[in-house]
């Protein structure tokens, strides 16, 4: 899953006051997550690969034991735990999410996802029937994404010490071509593209929890993005960076990108694709769709003159039908994301401080 709570992509902000205990917001993908990673994890694990803060780690494996930059040995490696609640929701379930989340982290790093592992932490008393449904759903998701689940583990914790089921998936992919996709690559003049409507997953989970119904059916957008990414990279090998804006939403992804590349980003509010149901729900719940999680969307940064042809290609793919250019990279206000509305007003889109929607993935 891509968000600021991934060690490999968190932006470490300025030091903050010491939080004595873990807060729900530490898992939000926002500023608190970045804070925890920056204060606790990076100081210990800050090796070269981890500190690069990318979505998936890129590793070289040389059977002769020597360091190598040989692209033939470049593999991508990423992990995520899934604790979404409820386990089943319109458009998906925790199993599907666990497969797609890891497949997508590999895909947006430019790698072809190949193998997954899955580790289950089950709560004593969890029913076998939903477990079976989740496992079946994972199998189907693996088949659809073209990956093989090759190893796994199961642990059981006593009743009241877990919450039905948590799943951790880890993925291995291979970099077939020597691409250099990185959130450090954005440059002024680049365009920012989103592959479709934003906020669908987060609002689906939220409204399922709260029992809110919409006039039109709303579903999670959970989907494997590797096919779309492949079509995009073929059409536009000069893509600078890709990310899937999950926990913390589009705003977190763009803030991390702006910080990592030391550039400003200007978003055009009118161009943001948002479903009417998501729009209404956000108004009702007081949420901003820019902060709501997506599970089958990606953000791409490309040279400005390549944006429109790429969007055309994306729109021909089922998962890119609503693709749109939503902003541009500028040299002004580095490390800052700004949203410009229809009448020319603008506001800063900052990293969310705490927790908006806990356990969204």
């Amino acid at each position: 899953m891509t968000n600021a709570a991934d060690f490999d992509r968190s932006v470490c902000p300025t030091p903050r006051q010491d939080h004595e205990r873990v807060l729900l917001g530490h898992g939000s993908g926002g500023r608190l997550s970045a804070d925890l990673v920056g204060r606790v994890f990076l100081p210990e694990f800050g090796n070269e690969v981890l500190s690069a803060l990318e979505d998936a780690a890129t590793l070289t494996i040389d059977p002769r034991g020597e360091a190598t930059r040989d692209q033939a040995n470049r593999i991508a490696f990423t992990t995520d735990s899934f604790v979404v609640k409820p386990l089943f929701f319109p458009g998906g379930d925790i199993g599907k999410l666990a497969v797609h989340g890891t497949v997508n982290d590999l895909a947006v790093s430019g790698a072809q996802p190949l193998y997954l592992s899955a580790a289950f932490i089950l709560e004593e008393g969890f029913q076998i029937d939903p477990l079976r449904r989740i496992v079946r759903s994972m199998r189907q998701a693996c088949a659809a994404a073209g990956v093989a689940l090759v190893t796994g583990d199961t642990k059981v914790v006593d009743r009241g010490k877990g919450d039905q089921i948590f799943i951790t998936t880890t993925g291995i992919g291979v970099h077939r071509v020597d691409r250099d996709l990185s959130i450090h690559n954005a440059r002024p003049g680049d365009a920012v593209i989103v592959s479709g409507t934003i906020g669908d997953h987060g609002i689906t989970i939220m409204s399922t929890r709260e029992g809110i119904e919409f006039e039109t059916a709303l579903e999670s957008d959970t989907a494997p993005l590797n096919g779309l990414v492949e079509a995009m990279l073929e059409a536009c090998p000069t893509i600078r960076a890709m990310r899937d804006p999950t926990r913390g939403g589009v705003s977190s992804t763009l803030n991390e990108l702006a910080v990592a590349s030391h550039v400003g980003i200007v978003l055009d509010e009118a161009s943001l694709p948002v479903k009417p149901a998501v729009h209404s729900a956000c108004e009702m719940l007081g949420l901003d769709p820019l902060y709501v999680a997506n599970e089958g969307k990606l953000i791409a940064v490309v040279p400005g003159d390549r944006a429109e042809p790429l969007v055309e290609v994306m729109r021909r793919h089922p998962l890119g039908r609503d693709a749109a250019v939503i902003g541009r990279v500028v040299s002004e206000h580095p490390a800052m994301v700004v949203l410009r509305n229809a009448i020319g007003g603008q506001r800063v889109v900052s990293l969310l401080a705490g927790e908006q929607l806990p356990r969204i993935c």
Copy 2:
């Protein structure tokens, strides 16, 4: 971690009655674990690699997208969740265990462990200070084992929906030589070796929980086995199989081996290395050390005439000082492990049905 709840090594027993809910025993590494894996996971995920039931999956990664047996591309891949309670215990903590467990699964598959990922599920309210200690301990364990932690994730669940901290580690190793270690390889005439005293980890955890004190200090044996394995494979390239007897203990490992290789195993009770403190604790608690978890021990199966020289080599390594031949592989009673005592009596050492010590790792 090696145990029957790993998908990749579970032996699927004959069908049993349907358990409607997850039981603590489903995480025991014994018969119930194998049952769950056999009934729920394997039917869905039963691809070629997963069905081989090995400790770590062996994968081939060919950048040209073709299937290959080229050993240059053979990597090992394994995952485990850690839910041990208490988090800190004599000789280690959950972080150390999480690193060693995955390093050891790679090592006993014959691979050199290279890279780890770590995914944390934190309970809201967990203190930052122990989290920091755990992370530091993981860093030290990684350094000692010569592996790099390169990617990670953090999720937070609401208070009462987790238990302080769960850690899932996933590891990648490389097969430098074309070895064929497998639990399917044992043959009559082979010897069974254990690298040291058994039951230390399980009894340490149990006595820490119960507040039992011993006259002599007892510590968990948690340790990275890759150095010992390297020395062993160099001295004896004909080793048939290795396993680390964690959850479910030596008995689970040997039962899986006997089933997979369709051979019988005869253990010699007098030769089992057991510390006096472990022996007394087992008597007091009514436990059998053969079923108690180890976290820094391995079982090796080697051709009979290679056993003594190999044990000599092992004893020169700090983690193999108490290495001993504990039994032999026979053609009689296939798929069955038998323990022979000093006066010639014998009993069947079966797979433990349920849960002996929950949350031991």
